[in-house]
Symmetry: C2
Subunit: 428 residues, 2 copies
C-alpha cells in the first residue's frame, strides 16, 4: 500500500499558513500502520490538482486530498476530480438536507453557492461532515477508471479546516481504510513520550537491551524536539502486540521515570489529569516564561478545576507586590536566584491557597546575562506541603524554545513530585 497526501491551496505555497493538516493526518495514519510515502502541496488551480492526483496514482493506491471542497470560486477539488475521472456531478439530496439544517440550526441564511457542496461525483461515497457544510468524498477508481485514465485505487477528499477534517477522518475515514485496506498482517505501534533526558542518552540506555526484540522484528524510532524525546516502537506480524508490549516494558524499566505519556499525550494534560484525580490545585508565578506555563495548562479543558491562578511578574516591583518577595532578597541575591524563586513559589501558593505552586525566574535573552548568570540561566521552584524544591538549569535556546523547554522542566518537577519519582532529575 502506497499512500500519497495532496494538500491543495495557493495560500500554502505563498507561505501564508502552516500546513497543520499534513502533520495531523500523517501522525494519525502512521499510528495505525498506514505510513504516508509522499506529501505534496499544490496551488488550487484545476490543472495542478488534476496533474497531482494523476501522478500520485501512478505510484500510490490510496490518495488523500485536503481542501478545495468549500463554496467559493477557488474551491475546485470536487469539480476537477469529477472531470478528471469522467464522473458527472449530481446533487445529493441527503447532503443538501444536511447543509440546509446546518444553517437553519444557526439561524443564518444559506448562501446560494453553499448548495454546490451537495454535488457528488458519480459513484462517490459521501463522508459526513458534522462540523461544517462541506461533506468529504471517497471515490473508488475501479477497472473502468483504469481504462480511462490509467489509475486505480481509492481517492479520499477531505475539507481543509482542521476542525472539520479531524473528526471526519476519525469517524468516517478510519473505518473505511480498515475495511478497504485491511492490514495484511497485525500491526502494533506505541509511542512513549519522555522528557528530562536527551535523544542520545535515551538511545544509549535502551538500544542494547532492546536488541533481542529488534532481532525478532521490532522497529525503534526516535524523535527529539527541544525538551522532549519520543520513542516509537513498531512491530508487524502475528507477534506484533507481544513484541511491542515487551519493548514498552523494557523501555519503562530503563527510563520509566522520564516517560510522561503515550501517543499524543502532552505534559500539561498529564499534570491536569494527575491533580484532578488527587483533588489538588496549582498556582503559578512566572517571570521569564511570561505566562506560557499558564497558557499551556489552560489549553487543557478542565484546567479551571485545578489552576487557581497565576502571576506573570516580570518586574521586581511585581514580584514584591503580587507575590510578597522581600526587597532584601531581591537586593542581596537578585531576581534570578534560588531565594527569589523560592519566595515566588511560596508567595503564589499562600496567596492563592493552592496545594502546589510552581515559580520560574531566569534570563531568556538575548540580553541580560552575566558571567555568573549567563543568558539561559533559570531557577525553578516547586512549593507544596513539604520543603520547597529549587532547581537551577541552563537553557541556551532562542526565546520561544527557551520558554518551551523551561515550561517543560517546571511541569516535570511537579509530575515527579506527584508520582513520587524523586525531585532531582538530570537537566534536559
Amino acid at each position: 500500500l502506497n499512500i500519497e497526501l495532496i494538500n491543495t491551496g495557493t495560500e500554502l505555497l505563498l507561505g501564508f499558513v502552516t500546513n497543520t493538516n499534513q502533520q495531523w493526518l500523517c501522525r494519525q495514519l502512521s499510528q495505525r500502520g498506514y505510513v504516508v510515502t509522499r506529501q505534496l502541496a499544490v496551488p488550487d488551480t484545476g490543472a495542478e490538482i488534476q496533474q497531482a492526483v494523476r501522478e500520485a496514482f501512478t505510484r500510490g493506491n490510496l490518495v488523500i486530498t485536503t481542501g478545495g471542497l468549500g463554496p467559493t470560486s477557488d474551491d475546485l477539488t470536487r469539480e476537477c476530480i469529477a472531470q478528471l475521472f469522467g464522473r458527472p456531478l449530481s446533487e445529493d439530496a441527503a447532503s443538501l438536507a444536511k447543509i440546509e439544517r446546518f444553517f437553519r440550526e444557526r439561524n443564518r441564511p444559506m448562501p446560494e453557492r453553499t448548495r454546490l457542496q451537495a454535488l457528488v461525483p458519480e459513484g462517490a461515497r459521501v463522508l459526513a461532515n458534522n462540523n461544517g457544510t462541506a461533506p468529504g468524498l471517497a471515490l473508488e477508481l475501479d477497472a473502468a477508471a483504469y481504462g480511462r485514465t490509467g489509475q486505480r485505487g481509492l481517492l479520499i477528499m477531505l475539507p481543509g479546516p482542521p476542525r472539520e477534517l479531524e473528526p471526519m477522518f476519525l469517524t468516517e475515514v478510519v473505518p473505511l481504510l480498515l475495511e478497504r485496506f485491511p492490514p495484511n498482517e497485525p500491526f502494533a505501534c506505541r509511542v512513549l513520550r519522555s522528557t528530562g533526558v536527551g535523544e542520545s542518552a535515551v538511545e544509549e540506555r535502551i538500544a542494547g537491551r532492546l536488541q533481542p526484540l529488534v532481532a525478532a522484528g521490532l522497529e525503534i524510532g526516535y524523535c527529539a524536539r527541544f525538551g522532549e524525546v519520543d520513542v516509537r516502537l513498531v512491530a508487524r506480524g502475528p507477534k506484533a502486540d507481544e513484541l511491542v508490549k515487551q519493548a514498552e516494558q523494557t523501555v519503562r524499566s530503563l527510563i520509566g521515570k522520564h516517560v510522561f505519556g503515550c501517543e499524543t499525550d502532552e505534559l500539561p494534560a498529564v499534570i491536569i489529569r494527575d491533580l484532578t484525580a488527587r483533588r489538588q490545585t496549582l498556582a503559578l508565578a512566572e517571570s521569564c516564561t511570561g505566562g506560557y506555563i499558564a497558557h499551556r495548562l489552560t489549553n487543557v479543558p478542565g484546567a479551571s478545576a485545578v489552576l487557581t491562578g497565576g502571576f506573570v511578574t516580570y518586574s521586581n516591583e511585581a514580584k514584591q507586590t503580587c507575590l510578597g518577595v522581600r526587597s532584601e532578597t531581591l537586593a542581596t541575591h537578585g531576581a534570578v536566584s534560588e531565594p527569589t524563586a523560592r519566595e515566588m513559589a511560596e508567595g503564589a501558593r499562600d496567596r492563592l491557597r493552592s496545594t502546589y505552586a510552581i515559580a520560574v525566574t531566569g534570563i531568556a535573552g538575548p540580553g541580560g546575562g552575566s558571567a555568573e548568570k549567563p543568558v539561559g540561566t533559570v531557577y525553578m521552584a516547586l512549593a507544596g506541603n513539604g520543603p520547597t524544591l529549587v532547581l537551577r538549569q541552563l537553557n541556551r535556546y532562542d526565546r520561544e524554545s527557551f520558554k518551551f523547554v523551561t515550561s517543560q522542566q517546571a511541569l516535570e518537577l511537579l509530575r515527579r513530585r506527584l508520582n513520587d519519582l524523586g525531585g532531582n532529575f538530570r537537566p534536559l
Copy 2:
C-alpha cells in the same frame, strides 16, 4: 521560472514534526516574487530523494531541498545528490576549518562524523552556515548534467534546523537568486495585515475601488485566519512599485483603522513598539485567555520594558485576592460580566501601577454557557487614564482559536486607543 521545494525527512511523513520550513521559505520567496509552484515531502532514503529531485527538474528550473545535511546516518541528501548528478564529493578545506572552529569556540570535542559535512560535490558552491556545522550547497546543473540525466537548472540544498536555514537563506540564497534568476521585470509586493473585520467585508469595501488598478495589472489576494485578514497587493512590470503604492493608499483610506501592520508584523510586537515609543506600560488580568495574552506579548524581545505584570485569575477567589474585584460584583453580575471585567482591569492597573491594563473574562467552553451568556461570550476591558472601556464579544470557536481571537480583540482595543482610532470597532 518554476520553483519546487523538497522537504526531506521521514519524521515529516510520520507526523512527528510540523513542517515550519515550508511556510517560512514559501513566504520569503513569494514576497520577493519567486512563487513556489509545488512542495513535496519525502522520506530520507536516498532513492526517494533522488527520485523527487529528478522529477522536480522535469518541471522546474530551481529546486530547493531542506534537511539531510547533518552528520548522522539518515542524513543522505549530500551524498545521494552527488551520486545522482555524477559529481564526486571532496573535502572542502574552508568548510572543514569552519566546522573545527565551531567546536573549538564552544569547548566541545568534534565528533569524527561531523567531518562529513565538509564534503562538497564537484562544482558546487558552499553556502556559509553561521549557526551550525552543516554548510548549504548550490549546484548548477549545466549542459553536462543535462546530457547525463536530462536535468538543468539550479539546485539549492539547505540544512533542516530553522535557526540554521533561515539566516542562510537570507544572507546566502537571496543574493544568489537575484543574480541567477534576476526578475525579468520589476516586482512589487505588499501585505497589509488587518484585524477586526471579516474577509468578505474587507473584499466588499476595497475590491470596487481597486478595480482601475486591477485593470492596470494589480493582483489582489486575501488570506483570512481567525482574527486576521491579510491583503496581498502584487504588481509586475515598469509600473509595479507605483501600482502597489497606489493600491496601499487606497486600501488604507478605506480600511486603514483595521490595518495594524505590514508583511510579517504581529499585533503584540506592534503594541510593544507603540508603548515603548510612548514610555508607557501595560498590565494584564486574564481569565478565559489563561495567560495567552501575556505569552504573546512576552514572545517579543523588549517586552519587559513595557509589561509590568499579569494575572491569570480563573477562580472568583483569585479575582478578589489578586485584583480586588468586589464580592458583591461577582455575586450580583457574575464573573463573566461588564462590571467584573471593569474591576479586573482597574485592579490590575492600580496594583501594578501601569499606564494601561487589559482584562478579559469569558466562557471559552466547551462547558459553562447559559441562554443569557452562551459559550463564547467575552467581556474585555481597557483601563487607562480616562474612563474604562468595556466591550462584549461572542467568540464561538474551539478552545485554542477562542484564545487567539480573544487575545487579538483585546490587544486591538489597546492599539486603537494608542493611535486615537476610536474605541468602538466592529466585532471580528
